[in-house]
């Protein structure tokens, strides 16, 4: 039936989206036929409050008609169906003409066919019987005029109509299935029963529970659909942004020679987990610069200890974040972390288990952190000592893993290659836990520093750490871009 409708008016219909809008258009169209108000009305008493609400909503609807997503009372079609005829979904949710044709003002759940029939008949009737009606005139003109024009016209007409309806309503308390159109009509034509067939006629006050529920469900479904669509679009948008960032990263990385020479097409060989981590890491590096300038200005500005503490804690959280990201990356591509392909060549040179060696960092710091109290000196040396021991233990554990792997792969004649491979794979899986433990050690070491140092010392300490690695990265860049003979 909706199809008929479209055909008749020659207006385009935003096809599939129709299905998202289950609000009976005609209901909206006919002034006080805002479904909610409609549904709430019972009996003969007319609620002016609801009428006003409906009118307001209609106004909103009309304004939104040209937008993609009109609120509440939406219709996929533009003002097109501004007339009394329901839009597509209507046939499933609209009250049938036949409801109105029964002068019982009953809005019953309808079936599409009858709706179709009534629709077309309505239109015909409308044109035939109510030639004076601005809407009927409108209806016929719809077929020929451009959409915008029709919309504007409709808006005007409807506003007139609404006023007329108000007047009509005021004077006629007993709803006997008068449609808005009819109200505009001269009495005879307007009140005739066949006119009741008009869809969503204002006269229909009584809706049975089933229709009420259905209408409410449709509204809900429409709303959910809109939300889903919005979420999906947002997802697409962020994916698109991520994609361009990723591409930029690869571009940058390639030009900086991060990918070793041996793999010219290395960019194509990078796993998705690794690519994602690389992108997140470069973002982390940008954050790192921000944190460092915060530390710098905080120290120079001689902030209070509590203010400085906030900045220091922020820097620790910043490192917590990269360890978290590395944990995720280790699950998908532990080799990427172990080989250090995510870092610069100079950093890679000093790599230990997929990252910096904590004892080396402490050693570097000791000379930079004077003056320290005796207790602090003991604390720092103790930290260096325990981290060295932990590194040793992990290194030895990893060595045993490597040896075990070699034994598995190299072992004897290949009687059962697949079995051998399966065992080797299982052993290889332990790599992830070693990288996790190494990152854990790094994280614990960084957390321990502010416990030994004062706030100002800790701020200076983290600034030193940040600057140290920034220089190492800069060294890598300079090295890779140096003129070669």
């Amino acid at each position: 039936m909706a199809n008929h409708r479209v055909g008749e008016t020659g207006l385009t219909d935003s096809g599939p989206s129709n299905h998202h809008h289950h609000i009976p258009y005609a209901h909206v169209l006919h002034g006080m036929n805002a479904p909610t108000s409609f549904l709430h009305q019972e009996g003969a008493a007319f609620d002016f409050g609801e009428l006003e609400e409906a009118i307001v909503l209609q106004g909103v609807k009309f304004r939104n008609d040209n937008e993609a997503k009109p609120p509440l009372f939406t219709t996929p079609r533009p003002a097109a169906t501004l007339d009394m005829f329901p839009s597509w979904p209507m046939r499933f949710h609209q009250t049938p003409r036949q409801g109105s044709s029964k002068s019982g003002d009953e809005i019953s759940t309808e079936d599409s066919e009858s709706a179709v029939n009534t629709l077309s008949s309505n239109k015909t009737e409308n044109n035939q019987l109510e030639p004076e009606s601005p809407i009927s005139k409108k209806a016929s003109s719809f077929d020929h005029k451009p959409l915008q024009q029709q919309q504007q016209q409709h808006l005007q007409h409807l506003q007139q109509l609404q006023q007329q309806q108000i007047d009509q309503m005021a004077s006629d308390n007993s709803r006997t299935g008068t449609t808005s159109q009819q109200q505009n009509q001269s009495a005879s034509a307007a009140k005739t029963t066949p006119q009741e067939k008009r869809r969503g006629s204002t006269s229909e006050k009584q809706l049975d529970a089933k229709t009420l529920r259905r209408l409410a469900q449709n509204r809900e479904a429409a709303r959910k659909s809109r939300l889903r669509k919005k979420a999906y679009v947002q997802q697409l948008e962020s994916s698109r942004i991520k994609l361009t960032q990723l591409e930029q990263e690869l571009q940058r990385a390639r030009s900086q020679g991060l990918f070793l020479g041996g793999c010219g097409g290395a960019a194509g060989n990078i796993s998705s987990g690794a690519a994602i981590f690389d992108m997140e890491y470069s973002r982390w590096l940008e954050d790192d610069q921000r944190h460092m300038s915060e530390l710098r200005t905080g120290l120079h500005a001689h902030l209070s200890d509590s203010d400085l503490r906030v900045i220091v804690d922020g820097y620790i959280s910043h490192y917590d974040e990269i360890f978290r990201l590395k944990g995720v990356a280790a699950k998908s591509d532990v080799f990427h972390l172990i080989t250090g392909m995510w870092t610069t060549p100079a950093e890679r040179c000093f790599l230990w288990m997929g990252g910096f060696r904590p004892s080396e960092l402490i050693k570097m710091l000791i000379s930079q952190l004077d003056p320290l109290t005796e207790q602090q000196v003991m604390g720092i040396y103790s930290l260096q000592h325990s981290s060295t021991q932990a590194e040793e233990a992990l290194s030895q554990g990893l060595e045993q893993l490597q040896q075990s792997l070699i034994d598995t792969i190299a072992g004897g004649p290949v009687i059962d290659g697949m079995q051998q491979m399966a065992v080797a794979l299982a052993k290889l899986a332990n790599l992830e836990s070693f990288i996790r433990q190494a990152d854990n050690l790094r994280q614990q070491t960084l957390h321990q520093l502010p416990r030994i140092l004062t706030v100002r010392q800790a701020a200076r300490c983290f600034l030193v750490i940040g600057e140290y690695y920034a220089r190492l990265r800069a060294l890598s860049s300079l090295w890779s871009s140096r003129p070669r003979e």
Binding site: G379, S386, E392, A393, L398, N430, S433, F434, Q444, R451
Partner: protein
């Protein structure tokens, strides 16, 4: 002393018998790492290789439940008290609480 048939009971019992107890699996490399850690500190832990114990499987399962972790080993007890897996042991060493615990349990004299 009656030997409890409950594997968790056995774990607790064994853990309280020595100053420092490690439950391990002989082929596990992380277990090797934690053993090396204590040896490097001059500590001599009592190690139970669950893959070499007839009730080892049950004890391993009990430890899994205790830790809430599919990775049951290595797990360390000091002075009969549960310290945890490798990450907890290392965190404890870095923040300086491990050595006092070892001394208190009599596992370390320095």
């Amino acid at each position: 002393m009656p030997m409890g048939s409950d594997p968790m009971e056995r774990v607790v019992k064994l853990a309280s018998e020595s100053a420092i107890v490690i439950f391990s699996v002989s082929s596990c490399c992380m277990c090797h790492a934690v053993k090396r850690l204590f040896c490097g500190m001059g500590v001599n832990p009592t190690v139970y290789e669950l893959d070499q114990d007839p009730r080892g499987k049950d004890m391993e399962r009990a430890l899994m439940r205790l830790l809430g972790n599919p990775q049951a080993v290595p797990v360390v007890f000091i002075g009969g008290k549960l310290i945890g897996s490798m990450d907890r042991v290392m965190a404890s060493h870095i923040n300086g609480t491990l050595v006092p615990l070892l001394k208190e349990a009599g596992a370390l004299w320095l």
